[in-house]
Symmetry: C2
Subunit: 201 residues, 2 copies
DNA sequence: GTCTATAGAAAGATAGAC
DNA sequence: GTCTATCTTTCTATAGAC
């Protein structure tokens, strides 16, 4: 049956999308270091030259992965937002961010590590959704003051990003306990920032 | 004159130390990616096999760099601590940390990036001095309460580390303005944490 | 759009001489 | 402790056929 969709190895279809998926798999399994165009091609059963029809070079594929990772991070965090107060929802964003960093550590590190083309404006496409989540939650809390909202959103993002980093550095211990600890610490620090937010502006 | 110390290319002496220095130079110039045992050997004018007499492998040299970087970070931040109140000194630690991250970006990224052997206990030797600086300043502020001191020190470290990360991601702009912005934001957030620190415990 | 084939480069690590 | 020499592996990227 020629028309059946065979996903044994993949063959003809949307190679571009398949490469992004495979790159994310490889990164999840072995970290960014363990990813290469050659390995991704091998896993998909295509020639190592095939990706060059869709991406100018390795970095361009990596950037595409970053964009997808940013969307995934933003939607994942958004989906976990809950609570009946503005404060509760901003806290939930911080919690969700740290949790995502823990659950998708290699992808998180790929996105915020040294390998993304930070200078290039294309990279903004990747980070914009994430910034939006913090900004939206902070704006709701800060009422009508856009300056206060900006400061608060950034501070909470820094705290969440910072605890994610400390967690990955093993400074909060290892294993599931460390994750819960990091999440709880990020929550507490977010509450402290909110309580002391008059010092932010 | 055979006994003159020639530093043209280096020859015989403390190769171990020279390798660490050269590795830090290479990292400063080209980032961690641009560092290799081969390149370091080349620059010192020794054979590529020479380093293996002093380090089991590449990672072991990188770890030694991490230890040195940790000491440098801790002493640099310590030297910048000033102010006549406990609060001012804790704030100065946060400022100094972000400033160091900006000034020694490649080294900072090498130390806290994906390449250090985080799992291994040896890595603690590298991070311990840095943790100590935050902990000492927080303890002075928290008075006799060790739990509060621990929480506060960690939160300020997370904020500083977080702003350093956001700065490197270009989320605070580019250039010297961005650095000053990051430092100022880290200071403000630290003050907010201190003001709202009752929420931390 | 994908394949074969290949050029070209670089690195990690080891064996054995001195 | 350092050197020469070499093995082995892996990757990026391109040229040209189908």
């Amino acid at each position: 049956m020629p028309r059946t969709t065979r996903r044994d190895r993949y063959h003809h279809g949307d190679l571009r999308a398949a490469l992004i998926d495979t790159a994310m798999e490889l990164i999840a399994e072995q970290g960014v270091q363990g990813f290469s165009l050659a390995e991704a091609s091998r896993r998909l059963g295509v020639a190592v030259s095939a990706p060059y029809r869709h991406f100018a070079d390795r970095d361009e594929l990596l950037l595409a992965v970053g964009v997808r990772a940013g969307e995934l991070l933003a939607t994942t965090v958004s989906a976990e937002i809950g609570g009946d107060s503005h404060e509760a929802r901003l806290v939930a964003v911080a919690r969700g961010y740290v949790r995502f960093a823990a659950r998708h550590r290699p992808l998180f590190e790929a996105m915020f590590g040294t390998l993304m083309p930070v200078g290039e404006p294309e990279f903004e496409r990747a980070t914009q959704p994430v910034k939006g989540v913090f900004h939206t939650a902070a704006t709701a809390l800060a009422g009508g003051d856009p300056v206060a909202a900006e400061s608060l959103g950034l501070a909470v993002a820094a705290v969440a990003h910072g605890y994610a980093g400390l967690l990955h550095l093993g400074m909060l211990g290892e294993g599931d306990d460390a994750v819960e600890h990091a999440v709880a610490r990020a929550e507490a620090a977010t509450r402290a920032l909110i309580a002391g937010r008059s010092a932010l502006t």
